[in-house]
Symmetry: C2
Subunit: 523 residues, 2 copies
């Protein structure tokens, strides 16, 4: 359709980076969400939900006085005009004591952790008359879509995607971090991912901090971030690549120059020694022993080692061995807000990338301790730990390791509208017996179109009601997989009726039993 | 926290009209969604999903050249700058052949039908090289949040709420409308709403149209809408109130003057006769017989009567009697896009409103035929029929007729951090036996706080591990409901241990069996 005045067309289309989810993908998503949620609930996490839309200042991507749609999120002014809150939540007033109004910036949530912080802070805020109390314990899981406006969209990535988080707020006990690793492990196993095809890698931010203390970088946060970014590349570019990037720089595979951090040789030696030193370690305890040499004695390093020791003790006592959870001092996790133990679950599955190269499937979920959760909003530190599953990415993994489990209905077809009520009746009988059954409404369609519909829907069995059959008190059952092989040659009703090998006639009264038998015979 | 330069505060808060969903409400929502979805799937509907965010022009609340956030929806400019499409989807160009760009208006979906239209139209558009073909059959269900910016928010209403829709696109067969009534009926029963506590009311827009034809209003759409709006009030103001509003107007209960439509007496008589004429009808067939006198003979009335006749025949043949589905010629359904049969499921439950007055709970879901689904986008009429459940409203109803079914974990408590690993081990054993179990991490908390946490979580049973008990190879089990009654007097550990009536000691090896038994004894 065309708007005559501007030439603009009305073209049915999705916003770029968004997608419709088909039934097979949806089934996979929901199997994942339900299975993992059951594991979370079994550990005592409760299912909370928060709004899709939040005040931007409460999520923390904006300064409140900024009104610009910053990169990375979907933000816009609230259509509602509201009083601007002062520090106590009362309306802000001008010099003439008039209430100041604004259309506050709101944003689609970009993760599930920022809304958790808002919810927890809101509860604390409402109880602020009683400031001395211990931060309350809060354990919740939550799932749903989050939104990121990434300028450049990699293949297979979307701007709306699902996360599935569990978090414990108000706990500094490190066995609670050990529990995070156990939960991720249990969830992956519950999803049917065989042991040995994945591992959970654990590290602590405090070990990195100890390393920075040892090389005298600990005060320079920007520098530390740069170093972490390089160390995190070890899986991709190896220790020698890391060494080069920490020093003079290197030329990558495409011939591009990658600038180096120009650290001195001794510092580089200590940093790469940290990566190298645990290569080939035999056990979590062995990793800890070797790390003692790297970061032991520094204040943060000592703390990080004691964290990992508690995690190892707990996991070992509970039977979570090296085949599921390993210590990996290279794990950095991108987010700056982690303050202690961090986790990354990695699939070892090999897949072909878009260029046909074989690579590891890689990270499927992650998390860690973040004790600064509500500090920005309330000025108090509240300890918290948890993890997030990237639902779409894990669903992608599941789709590669298992056959789809789409359950399609039996399709009840009729030749001629006089059989319509009979068609509804047959479908209702099947449903009453627990067999999903669909009345086929595309009456005007040719046989080929009917079969194409059944095929597209993945239907295994069709029930066929013709006036002749109804008079004789019988129905025809069609095995659609077998029928598909014959379909090319079928063009009219008579031929369809006579497709004997794919079709059987059964008494109308025995319909439900016959369908059940046919479905069972197909496995 | 306070921003010194402006006095603005950073107050943790939700956007007005949005809410956090607690575990009990969430459990109800998901029981509803899963139960109804299973019914939809049993009829052969497949689960599709569409994005939360859509181009405003594809949803149809905006003219494409408008950039205003119109009342009623959340809309904002896409942060992505894109070429403006022409009528063929190619980039629009200026007189110098330069591509024209824009930040297109995007909107949070305000229902699930408009995105269905976009999806179906998109499929047709992509196959537009083959324009002669029959509109494909498409049956899908979908659920999730939708967003409306309603200026005035009634109590208990939210700007983010959930819908659960099923639709069949590409079918004009009226038995498909009958199926809609059967599905709604099956879904309400599957949810445990007893027969007789609700009814599904069916009407056809064509009967109203026939009525307008009879009184000579059929050409004047605005006038017809006004009349419908008044007829729709019959449940609230009675036939005499409708009569007054069609004529000179009336004064309502609050003393306000309600303007009348000032129709002539003969027209008013025909219109109220339409409402009156079916009062006390004994059956659907009886309603049809009486309506024959009101609108029979008009072109649309004849069509509407034949639609309802097919629906009655189908429902009767399938055993859906008057106790579940009735014909009610007053049902109008607000939306202008309905073109044929319309449905409204109504709960007869009596509840107290916010003023303490007793009233009927009212409408819980609705739907109908809307053959203009994609007409605006593609210029072709495609028949469609379906219905939508207002999830939050139906969940509200369910919460009034059934006790909550929150499943809370067994809480594993310890006295002193030395028992931490033992605590994890006990919880893991319970989980392995299928009993949700939570390690209590609030170690620093006083006994009262621990019990308050268990209470807030709805925990029925606590497992207590003290060093003394561990040494003796026993654990203490606490019946928390019974314990609650004693809790007021409990202030220290010794007292807690001795709360004999609410607490039993069992061998550590028999923990799982003992917990199972205690849970079972509580029903």
């Amino acid at each position: 359709m065309r708007d005559g005045s501007t030439g603009r067309g009305l073209v049915p289309r999705k916003v770029k980076g968004f997608r419709d989810l088909d039934p097979a993908t949806n089934a996979l998503r929901w199997r994942l969400v339900e299975t993992a949620s059951r594991v979370y609930a079994s550990y005592g996490f409760e299912h909370w939900d928060t709004p899709l839309l939040e005040y931007a200042d409460c999520l923390g991507k904006y300064l409140p006085e900024s009104n610009e749609a910053a990169e990375g999120v979907y933000a816009f002014p609230n259509p509602e005009r509201e009083p601007i809150p002062d520090a106590e939540g009362a309306p802000l007033r001008d010099v003439d004591n008039r209430v100041l109004f604004e259309h506050a910036l709101v944003t689609l949530r970009y993760d599930l952790t920022a809304p958790l912080a808002r919810k927890y802070a809101e509860d604390l805020w409402e109880g602020r008359k009683n400031p001395g109390r211990v931060p309350p314990l809060f354990r919740r899981f939550q799932y749903g879509p989050v939104f990121r406006f990434e300028q450049k969209l990699d293949p297979g990535r979307f701007r709306e995607f699902w996360q599935l988080d569990f978090d414990t707020v108000g706990v500094s006990d490190v066995t609670c971090d050990a529990e995070v690793a156990m939960i991720l492990s249990d969830a992956l196993e519950a999803l049917g991912l065989a042991r040995g095809t994945w591992e959970i890698r654990v590290n602590s931010r405090n070990l990195h901090q100890g390393l920075f203390e040892r090389v005298g970088l600990a005060g320079d946060e920007a520098r530390c971030r740069d170093v972490l970014r390089v160390l995190d590349k070890v899986d991709k570019i190896g220790v020698s690549g890391v060494e080069a990037e920490l020093g003079a720089g290197r030329v990558d595979a495409s011939g591009s120059k990658v600038d180096g951090l120009r650290l001195d040789a001794a510092t580089i030696g200590t940093l790469t020694g940290y990566l190298d030193g645990t290569q080939g370690a035999a056990s979590r305890a062995d990793v800890l022993g070797r790390l003692e040499a790297q970061v032991g004695g520094t204040p943060s390093g000592t703390l990080g080692l004691s964290e990992l020791r508690v995690i190892d003790d707990t996991l070992t006592a509970l039977g979570y061995g090296e085949d599921r959870v390993v210590f990996d001092p290279s794990v950095a996790r991108g987010l700056a807000y982690y303050t202690g133990p961090v986790f990354e679950a990695v699939s070892k599955l090999e897949v072909r990338d878009e260029h046909g190269a074989i690579r590891r499937f890689g990270s499927i979920c992650g998390g860690g301790r973040y004790d600064g959760l509500v500090e920005r909003m309330l000025g108090v530190r509240v300890p918290a730990t948890g993890a997030s599953i990237g639902v779409d990415r894990l669903a992608d993994l599941l789709s590669r390791v298992e056959a789809g489990r789409r359950t399609s209905p039996v399709l009840v077809l009729a030749l001629g509208s006089r059989q319509r009520v009979e068609q509804h009746r047959a479908a209702a009988e099947l449903r009453a017996a627990g067999i999903p059954a669909e009345v086929y409404f595309g009456m005007q369609a040719k046989m080929k179109a009917q079969l194409a519909y059944a095929d597209a829907r993945g239907c295994a069995v069709a029930v066929l009601l013709g006036s002749e059959e109804v008079e004789r008190g019988v129905v025809a059952l069609k095995d659609l997989d077998m029928g598909k092989k014959l379909a090319a040659g079928i063009t009219d009703r008579a031929e369809w009726r006579s497709g004997a090998s794919a079709q059987v006639e059964v008494p109308r009264a025995g319909l439900v039993d016959a369908v059940r038998e046919l479905l069972a015979s197909r496995g």
